[in-house]
Symmetry: C2
Subunit: 399 residues, 2 copies
């Protein structure tokens, strides 16, 4: 059985050493990964510690066949992030690895634990960098457009940590043998806590349409242009947000404007323009399309003309139906969730790899901050569920 005490203790130790400062492509991150290497090596003499061409760390326990069951997540964090986002899935994977190795019997399938490089996209604004590189989805062209805030090319920064941009565009070696992939992660939302659940299967990730919108108005003095004569970009933006958010609520989807600003910003003037960001999400592709169509129609009908720059487009990600069933059985038996945030597992599912996730509850639904937490009892339930699921998958007769 997985040693949950040890896994949780290692998570707390890692947090004490590097918590909230474990940004990808930093020495803090690299040093913490060296600890992961040591933990994997301690688990069994049979374990192979590898880095693939894209700085992803692999810890492989060979089975009777090359068919590989993958378990993992990411060790990097956002600035001031919490102790569980990403790191839970890596230490949980190593805990499973140790438990399987301790069983003394070579499993039918090979077990690989992975620590994907740069899931958070903190440095270059590109999430899921290592996993997208491993599946072949990240191209050299896209990499060449990425730069750090100080202008340093991503190619240069990542090369210092062993990332080989020339290898981009093909699926990396180990991944070719993966027949099932599982990731344990915290929910980062309030659903499990609100419904009194501890751990649940995840059926996929929401589709995303993300853009920046600029409403172009006609500036004027706050006391001279009558309201009906105005082309007020703030008023048009406010009406748009109000109407679109109501539609998103009706559709059971999500709409978020995280950025909003007027330009120029004078207290006594109707601004020239108003810029907003818009992030729309939905589990259902058709509902997401309906929302996008509604947004476009509202923009066209608005008093001030709007220009739209698309930032991100991602259709809903559906995990493997058979694996979802297995994950439901291994966890609490309840209905699977849909993840709002993206995860490395989305990279794998989009690449056609059979994938599923498990979520443990998030205290108050918060993450990406030092307050991020999960009750220890729920973590233990999550570790047991993960172990149960992986053991099942390692013996193909039983799937």
């Amino acid at each position: 059985m997985i040693d949950a005490d040890t896994v949780i203790a290692r998570l707390r130790e890692a947090d004490a050493r590097s918590g909230g400062r474990r940004l990808a492509w930093t020495e803090t991150w690299a040093n913490e990964r060296a600890r992961l290497d040591a933990i994997a090596e301690d688990a069994s003499d049979a374990v192979m510690v590898e880095r693939d061409a894209f700085a992803n760390a692999w810890y492989v326990l060979p089975g009777e066949t090359d068919e590989t069951v993958l378990v993992g997540s990411h060790s990097d964090s956002v600035p001031d992030g919490g102790w569980l986002d990403g790191m839970l899935g890596v230490h949980a994977g190593l805990g499973v690895l140790a438990a399987v190795a301790a069983g003394g019997r070579t499993p039918k399938r090979t077990l690989a634990v992975v620590d994907w490089a740069d899931e958070e996209g903190t440095r270059f604004g590109r999430s899921l960098l290592g996993s997208a590189a491993a599946t072949g989805a990240l191209t050299g062209e896209e990499l060449d457009r990425l730069r750090a805030h100080d202008g340093t090319p991503a190619r240069e920064v990542t090369a210092a940590y062993g990332f080989d941009a020339n290898a981009l565009g093909t699926r990396s070696g180990r991944l070719r043998s993966v027949v099932a992939a599982v990731e344990l992660h915290i929910e980062q939302g309030p659903t499990l806590e609100r419904t009194g659940r501890e751990v649940a299967a995840v059926a996929g990730c929401l589709g995303v349409r993300r853009s920046r919108i600029t409403f172009e108005g006609e500036p004027g003095h706050a006391g001279t242009i009558a309201m009906p004569d105005r082309h007020d970009p703030v008023r048009t933006a406010a009406a748009f947000v109000t109407e679109l958010f109501a539609l998103a609520e009706q559709e059971d989807g999500f709409a978020t404007t995280g950025e909003i600003e007027a330009e120029p910003a004078f207290v006594t003037a109707v601004p020239q323009r108003c810029r907003i960001s818009l992030d729309m999400r939905h589990a259902d592709a058709r509902a997401l399309d309906r929302l996008s169509t509604s947004a476009r129609k509202l923009l066209e009908a608005g008093r001030c003309p709007a220009s739209v720059t698309e930032l991100h487009r991602q259709d809903p990600v559906h995990f493997d139906a058979g694996l979802i069933d297995a994950a439901v059985q291994a966890s609490d038996g309840g209905p699977p969730l849909t993840s709002g945030p993206l995860h490395d597992s989305a990279s794998l599912a989009l690449a056609g790899i059979r994938t599923v996730m498990l979520f443990t509850s998030s205290k108050s639904g918060v993450s990406h901050c030092r307050d991020e937490d999960t009750p220890e009892a729920h973590l233990r339930r999550g570790l047991l569920a993960l172990h149960r699921l992986i053991v099942t998958l390692l013996e193909p007769a039983r799937t």
Copy 2:
């Protein structure tokens, strides 16, 4: 008759020398004022050039009595401002002064042209500084709170230009004898142009309620918190703006949100808070109160709590009924306007001085920019109207 050609030529010369850079309390401004002194001195040997205790420039043509008819405006501009805002009224006043002096007959009443110091408030954020000081409305306490962007106290900056803060709190000498005050200004709005009018009387200034409002929400991930569960400060602010602006339109008033921002501003997160500015104006005090009450109720009913900081409160300013009639007759005979922007004339009216304004049209309604303009034919009509009105006022039997 007033020499409109000369007045317009002087305005163009002044614009070529110092246009858009004539900020109060700068050498550029002071040098242009020295030119005004020279123009006034050239008009007649009888003219007295004075500075009062608050750096306001007075050009006085003595009449048979000390009862004084005041005409003027301000020579300072906003950065990149136009050639007419303020300066029109000063050069127009000097043109009237020259015409009256050239008549060769001492008028019944004394004629004073004034160039108020720092109408625009560009340096310290306090509009109408010189005129408010002259009426006694500006206190030493208020002055001591004013600082330039670099932190220099207003008291220190203004003292270098002859402003005596110790004299604040009482009406300055010349102003005590003023029995009527007239200001010619550009409209800075589109009403005259839209109605095909060239010059019109002004009945007063809109009342103003100006504040900053902070909506306090609960931050969260764009893909995890369901819409009905959110406390989204951007959504609350957008609904507030949408509803309040509709009410302002119904009330025939003005509502403007020139500043709006989210904090923190992440594309993928519901922000913690949203800050907006709100500027409400109306010619009618009761309608303005109704709007304020509506705003308060909307804020109280909003999903996210709001805190309000008042920036400016000004009841509607009503000019003198008899002077408005005289100004209507001297201009185009049409209905008087209400000014959206504040003017030095508001300082005088609020101090109980009989005051009126004349507006010439503004091309496209724009001001505070280099595109600010008025057709020359309209300027000529405005100068003639001003001259006609002043001549009438200088002979009290005829008012």
